[in-house]
Assembly symmetry: C2
């Protein structure tokens, strides 16, 4: 189910410190693969939903299809009995994260899983700053419900979220920080 980006197909044979400059998705795939191999957690990126319009039944091939919009987040799984759920986004903005990066159904999904006490969060890459942050979903929802702004300022993310430091193996050890997402 993990979709390996081109260039890391032989990942297990390559050295992981080569991943500088990799996309956020690749870093997370690598991290999740590390968690999986080492029995730390089981977290997958969900497959992209595709709407099939036409099939060639004889050749068992899809000959016409379009991308469908997922109604949930991209990643979910389990870590020490807890349900983990997150969305990962990269922005080129240096001072804020535009909420248009999230679809209304994704925000609604966060609300629903918070009721169920999920460890839910957003991972935001500020690509021009080379920084990665984990923002608990409850802090995201609080911002949406109390501020009438279209963007979350970086300062709010720094105050209410946690920086994920790049490391070698795994490249983006976000599970270190998920205990901060616990709902009392």
């Amino acid at each position: 189910m993990v979709n390996y980006p081109i260039g890391i197909k032989n990942k297990k044979k390559t050295v992981l410190y080569k991943n500088r400059g990799m996309s956020l998705e690749s870093l997370l795939n690598d991290t999740n693969e590390y968690y999986l191999i080492n029995n730390i957690a089981v977290i997958y990126k969900k497959p992209t939903p595709i709407k099939i319009i036409k099939m060639d039944e004889v050749k068992k091939r899809i000959t016409n299809a379009i991308f469908d919009k997922p109604s949930t987040t991209d990643y979910n799984g389990i870590y020490k009995g807890s349900y983990i759920d997150f969305e990962a986004k990269s922005t080129k903005n240096r001072t804020s994260f535009n909420l248009n990066n999230l679809r209304p159904c994704q925000i609604s999904h966060f609300r629903k899983i918070l009721i169920q006490k999920a460890l839910a969060f957003l991972i935001i890459e500020f690509s021009m700053l080379g920084k990665y942050y984990l923002l608990p979903a409850q802090k995201l929802i609080y911002f949406i419900d109390t501020k009438s702004k279209k963007s979350i300022p970086l300062d709010y993310i720094k105050e209410n979220g946690y920086e994920i430091k790049r490391s070698i193996n795994p490249p983006l050890d976000y599970l270190k920080l998920v205990s901060f997402c616990k709902i009392k």
Copy 2:
């Protein structure tokens, strides 16, 4: 993300006791929709992974693709803080469930999530008997590891699993039984 089967697109307007004779997948989609609407749990069927071979970049359409084999189970989500994960299968056999219905990577996935204390299970429909059973993943793994049989006898499923009674709303209330999947 929920793929509505044909005929229940206007589900919210239709009466759910019309679902006799529905496929296992439709029953589970209805049940999960019921859980979602009533804030009982958030459980989705994962999209079928599709391997894209050719894209029409101008029309943004997929013109050649094949079905990929998922490496995990079909359903996951959260219920009262706990991670839920299951596979659903229907068999026409009256006396046993053939283990060929599960792929080795799915069994391996069950092993990995059991380490993380998931509430993991198999839902089996015996379609010729009109019966539905929930078999905890640890009982499935125990059978695989201790018996050298290719099929699980119905008697083993009855002794180690739990019958899911058909009801009106939701049609297949499997969450009633998941506490039996808890790993001590």
